[in-house]
């Protein structure tokens, strides 16, 4: 099953490599990874998507918690949560395709953020599934480049991941 694990860690050199290293060392999967500093400059928030059965996910969370740099951790998929991923997608846009792409972007609430005589760059935010759907929806149009941020997420309601 797919899990979104989000954690706070010390904003120290080497911390990220310990997290990533753990996954290759113990044979776990990472589907996406996203990391940036928080409002407190001493901490980074890292969110990763992984797949595994219950036993594997339990080991992943325990092993991550064991890392000295990891302060706190939550498996967002265990409760109600909001999941977002950002995508920038550059596509060939010629003739009738231009109107088609504009319509499609509107339907998906995506924005066209760069336009040239032959290309559009579309920016879109949503669940990973929604981003996948957009790529499918534009069908025959030639995709020149896709950049995805990886998933970030937050729990709904009062629940927070904080020190």
């Amino acid at each position: 099953m797919r899990h979104i694990i989000s954690l706070l860690m010390e904003n120290e050199p080497g911390a990220l490599s310990r997290v990533v290293g753990l996954f290759s060392q113990r044979g776990y999967n990472i589907e996406s990874l996203n990391v940036a500093v928080t409002d407190d400059a001493t901490m980074s928030r890292l969110t990763l998507v992984t797949v595994g059965d219950e036993r594997v996910i339990e080991q992943i969370t325990k092993q991550l918690n064991k890392l000295v740099d990891v302060i706190k951790l939550v498996d967002l998929t265990e409760g109600a949560h909001i999941e977002r991923e950002m995508m920038l997608i550059k596509v060939r846009a010629l003739g009738a395709q231009r109107a088609e792409l504009k319509r499609c972007s509107d339907i998906f609430r995506a924005q066209i953020v760069d336009v040239t005589s032959s290309t559009f760059t579309v920016q879109m935010v949503g669940t990973s599934e929604k981003l996948d759907s957009f790529i499918q929806a534009i069908g025959d149009i030639a995709i020149l480049e896709v950049v995805r941020s990886g998933v970030s997420g937050i729990a709904r309601g009062e629940k927070t991941l904080s020190v």
Binding site: P13, G14, R18, G21, Q25, K62, Q63, I71
Partner: protein
């Protein structure tokens, strides 16, 4: 306010930490630190002959004392040579602090002379690591390193120090922190009372219980409490390879070691058990045999300080996260309370259980029916270890390398105290025994410290005979000499049709007696069974010299019992070359 250079801070911080020995080897990147040692240190420094030996010596010291061992090596090859020893300590959860030199800060990443990414190379085999960015951080980082290495589930910590940060001309204020608290690292200090209560309820009702205890009980100082609990309940106890000595080896309730080369009675008791109290163990693959067939009727209580060890390979019914000493203490007091209020264990069922165990012992018990005797006229390795045990009254520190000799030393020496059996259980590092013995002998000069080894293992760190000469370290080395890589040969006998691919030395082995004499030590050779006792006595009587006992044994002996794999359960074992369960 006191101003010190980075190099001086390293030395002072180690002194403030109460370090008793530094095991190390100098080189370019640590010369400032070595100069500070020359000028300011009152900590004995042991100059080894290879950095791997420095880590094993520090490891031996740590296993025998429970305090972190300290290693100092230079950058590049100095650091990489230390890796095997760090991995050895990591696998067995041994506290260790390794200081490695690094090239100057501005050269890092430029492939400078003797540069290696020590943090990167060591990352999967350390509990944590640091690279110093400014000299003023040194005291704080050293304090953190010792704190992390020795608390929770212990392990090795690496501190990588660029050379420029130890420069004698740049001085900074030195303050050694008194306390250490880290927001991201807070090891548990006690077990969950409710979970312990659940466990105690199960213990009181058990009909076929076994206590399965491991290295965590030795490392966590839980040995006395384990004995108290087991004896109060009249439960049988088995120890893992790492846990030997946690329960007295000569006690009636002790079933011997379990696992791949475990005792018939221990493996059978586990398999037929209805309740396993697992303490400070990790259900290692060398214990469980096929996991899906592991102890089918048992409810499992698992106590460990590391939550990641619980339900990793075998699911626990009652998980208890906490230090073994604190959890055992609470278990003991809850059992006492229960007994005081009139609750009793199922004495009738326990009687039946003990009768069954005694039957197993009588059938194939290692100590109860001497299984190795034959009429070959050759010295049997098992007999050598039993004789050693008798002559040292089970009181010696025994270190070992890896292979058949290690298993004989685990099976036939009966360890009555924790921290006396010192071996590389997890990583299985050949070359561990001699340097580990050095680290122990330095700390316990009055005790017998004996390295049980083989020709393969001893030659992996034999250069340390020279270190023993320099520092006058009179350990004993008992070489069970069979002319083969014995355990490799055993597997080749059993699974590869006796094709000895690269497992024999032919006629290439040195005359070990002459070799040790060249280093200034004493060599004794034993070739006949009748010489065994007198020559071992002679060797043990020499207290002030290193003695190498080259004992020529039956080259074709195998270690039994041995789990039948693949697809075997705990109770499926070879009992001899021809007998199996």
């Amino acid at each position: 306010m006191e101003l010190l250079s980075g190099g001086e801070m390293v030395v002072r911080a180690l002194q403030d930490e109460g370090v008793e020995f530094i095991f190390g080897y100098p080189g370019g990147a640590v010369l400032h630190i070595y100069d500070a040692i020359f000028n300011h240190s009152d900590i004995p420094h042991i100059l080894v002959r290879h950095e791997q030996a420095a880590t094993h010596a520090a490891d031996g010291y740590a296993r025998a004392t429970g305090k972190p061992g300290v290693v100092l090596v230079t950058s590049g090859p100095g650091a990489t040579n230390a890796i095997t020893g760090i991995a050895t300590a990591y696998m067995d959860s041994i506290p260790m602090v390794v200081l490695s030199g690094q090239v100057q800060s501005h050269l890092i990443g430029e492939d400078a002379f003797q540069e290696t990414d020590m943090l990167g190379i060591s990352r999967p085999i350390v509990k944590h690591s640091f690279q110093v960015k400014h000299a003023s951080e040194i005291p704080g980082i050293i304090k953190k390193a010792f704190y992390i290495a020795s608390t929770g589930r212990p392990g090795p910590v690496v501190i990588d120090i660029p050379k420029d940060l130890t420069n004698p001309h740049d001085k900074y204020e030195y303050v050694y922190p008194e306390e250490m608290r880290l927001r991201s690292y807070q090891p548990v200090t006690k077990g969950h009372t409710g979970q312990i209560r659940k466990a105690v309820n199960l213990l009181m009702k058990a009909r076929r219980p076994v206590i399965y205890s491991g290295g965590g009980v030795v490392q966590g100082g839980g040995s006395e409490l384990l004995v108290e609990l087991a004896q109060m309940l009249n439960f049988p106890v088995t120890n893992t390879l790492m846990g030997l000595g946690a329960y007295p080896g000569e006690d009636r309730q002790f079933l011997g070691m379990l696992g791949m080369h475990g005792f018939y009675e221990a493996n059978n008791a586990m398999h037929h058990s209805d309740l396993i109290l697992a303490i400070g163990v990790r259900f290692d693959d060398r214990v469980t045999n096929t996991v899906s067939k592991f102890c089918p009727d048992a409810t499992i209580i698992h106590v460990d300080v590391d939550p990641a060890s619980i339900s990793k390979t075998v699911a626990a019914h009652v998980p208890i996260v906490g230090p073994v000493d604190a959890v055992l203490a609470e278990m003991v007091s809850q059992v006492k309370e229960a007994m005081a209020s009139g609750e009793k264990t199922d004495e009738e069922a326990l009687k039946v259980w003990w009768d069954r165990i005694d039957e197993w012992r009588a059938q194939h018990g290692l100590w109860h029916t001497p299984r190795y005797k034959d009429d070959s006229g050759l010295i049997k390795p098992q007999e050598v270890i039993e004789e050693l045990w008798r002559l040292t009254k089970g009181e010696a520190f025994i270190t070992s390398d890896v292979g058949q000799h290690q298993m004989y030393a685990a099976q036939y020496y009966r360890y009555n105290k924790p921290r006396r059996w010192i071996n590389s259980g997890g990583l299985g590092t050949m070359g561990f025994g001699l340097p580990a013995a050095m680290g122990i002998k330095l700390k316990f000069p009055e005790d017998d410290v004996i390295c049980v080894t083989g020709e393969g293992s001893i030659q992996m760190n034999i250069q340390e005979l020279s270190t023993c000469t320099q520092y006058d370290i009179p350990v004993k080395i008992l070489n069970l000499h069979n002319g083969y890589l014995g355990m490799v040969k055993q597997w080749q006998d059993m699974q590869y049709g006796g094709r000895y691919s690269q497992s024999t030395y032919e006629k290439s082995l040195p005359d070990f007696v002459k070799l040790v004499e060249a280093y200034g030590h004493v060599g004794i050779r034993i070739t006949k069974p009748e010489e065994l006792r007198p020559k071992l006595e002679e060797a043990l009587a020499i207290k002030d010299r290193l003695v190498f006992i080259d004992c020529m044994i039956d080259p074709h002996e195998h270690v039994y019992p041995m789990h039948i794999a693949p697809n075997g359960s705990m109770r499926d074992m070879w009992l001899s070359k021809t007998e199996r369960t």
